[in-house]
């Protein structure tokens, strides 16, 4: 399984390059053009990352979650859930940056190869910023009646989080 995972990125890169050559694409120029667009994208998300890291740090460093989750601890332990994953699952649908910042924090405290580090990585990889995406896409075509889109999207995220927990417990 890990060999498969490891080979995926190198193979994809190789296929992109070879296919580009075969179709006579100026691959180096194309890469530079795309990379420049990527730099602009990165530049655009720069302010929001700083804004979110700022807010998240203040929130997390107040240790309020420790108190809240200490209060909930008996319930969580009986379900065998790691405490630190809840804040991430909680902000994931609203802001990718905020949940990334929390995952960053989890890696910092527990390491990426801990159970909670792997769980956080899997949840981050399998869910999306549902509320933000809906606002962006429906906003673009001016739709106000979104019917069952939001609840169905959030339901899928919840199932993804539960599935991540089960799968990570089983695999590692």
């Amino acid at each position: 399984m890990s060999t498969f995972s490891k080979l995926m990125i190198p193979c994809f890169v190789l296929i992109v390059i070879i296919y580009g050559l075969k179709k006579n694409v100026m691959i180096y120029d194309a890469f530079l053009e795309g990379a420049k667009e990527g730099l602009i994208t990165a530049f655009n998300i720069f302010p929001s990352i700083i804004a979110m890291v700022f807010a998240i740090n203040i929130f997390l460093n107040s240790h309020i979650l420790d108190y809240v989750f200490k209060f909930l601890q008996p319930l969580l332990t009986s379900l065998n859930l790691p405490l630190q994953i809840l804040p991430m699952a909680f902000v994931r649908p609203i802001s990718g940056t905020a949940s990334l910042a929390i995952m960053n924090d989890i890696f910092n405290n527990f390491g990426p190869d801990s159970f909670i580090g792997r769980l956080a990585s899997t949840i981050q990889g399998c869910t999306d910023t549902t509320i933000y995406v809906l606002a962006l896409y429906f906003g673009r075509v001016k739709i106000t009646n979104t019917r069952h889109a939001l609840t169905t999207g959030l339901f899928a995220d919840l199932i993804g989080i539960i599935a991540s927990f089960i799968i990570v417990s089983l695999v590692f």
């Binding site: 700022f54 203040i58 809906l134």
Partner: protein, 192 residues
């Protein structure tokens, strides 16, 4: 929405820290968190730039189109209300392909075009169509094959095997996508 969350985090954080009497720590946090943000983006920039560069090659060589065609039979099944030659199908495929490769920012332009095409076929302009909801459920349940950002962060923290979460993420994604699409299917039918 983001406004309220941001205010909530900062407001609760500051008030609670002051109540706990740790004002010195609070000052440190406020002054240092910006540099934490800069460090994070500086580590992410190389990955974003590398992938958008590679995908530009894939786009120009037509590889992205091939990936799109690969999804076409599945899309016909998922979007019965769209016409067979609907332009929206092409954009939906490209969006899913870009998302699958972990290129959220590259996927967004395709997704917005797909919404515009579906809106052209919409009779009630202020109400979401079945196809739009199915598309968004599919999109937000995260059809990610290579979660590039997560892998980049794992590398940054010196994981022994940064890519090991690819397989678990794919299985979890399948679960959430199938659950979302199933619920969407039943709620769509219930209405008729």
């Amino acid at each position: 929405m983001i406004n309220k969350i941001w205010a909530f985090f900062i407001g609760i954080g500051i008030v609670f820290t002051i109540l706990m009497g740790e004002v010195n720590e609070l000052n440190n946090t406020i002054l240092n968190s910006a540099s934490g943000g800069v460090k994070m983006i500086m580590d992410l920039i190389p990955v974003i730039v590398l992938w958008t560069g590679l995908m530009k090659i894939a786009e120009k060589s037509g590889l992205l189109n091939i990936i799109s065609n690969f999804f076409r039979p599945l899309l016909k099944f998922l979007f019965p209300s769209l016409k067979k030659d609907s332009k929206a199908l092409g954009y939906i495929s490209s969006n899913i392909a870009a998302n699958a490769l972990g290129l959220g920012s590259a996927a967004t332009p395709f997704g917005l075009k797909a919404m515009e095409e579906m809106q052209k076929e919409n009779e009630k302009k202020d109400t979401a169509t079945d196809a739009m909801i199915t598309f968004l459920v599919l999109n937000t349940s995260g059809v990610t094959l290579i979660p590039t950002t997560v892998i980049a962060l794992r590398m940054m923290y010196k994981s022994h095997n940064p890519e090991e979460i690819i397989a678990t993420a794919i299985i979890a994604t399948l679960c959430s996508s199938i659950a979302g699409l199933t619920l969407d299917y039943f709620r769509r039918r219930k209405r008729k």
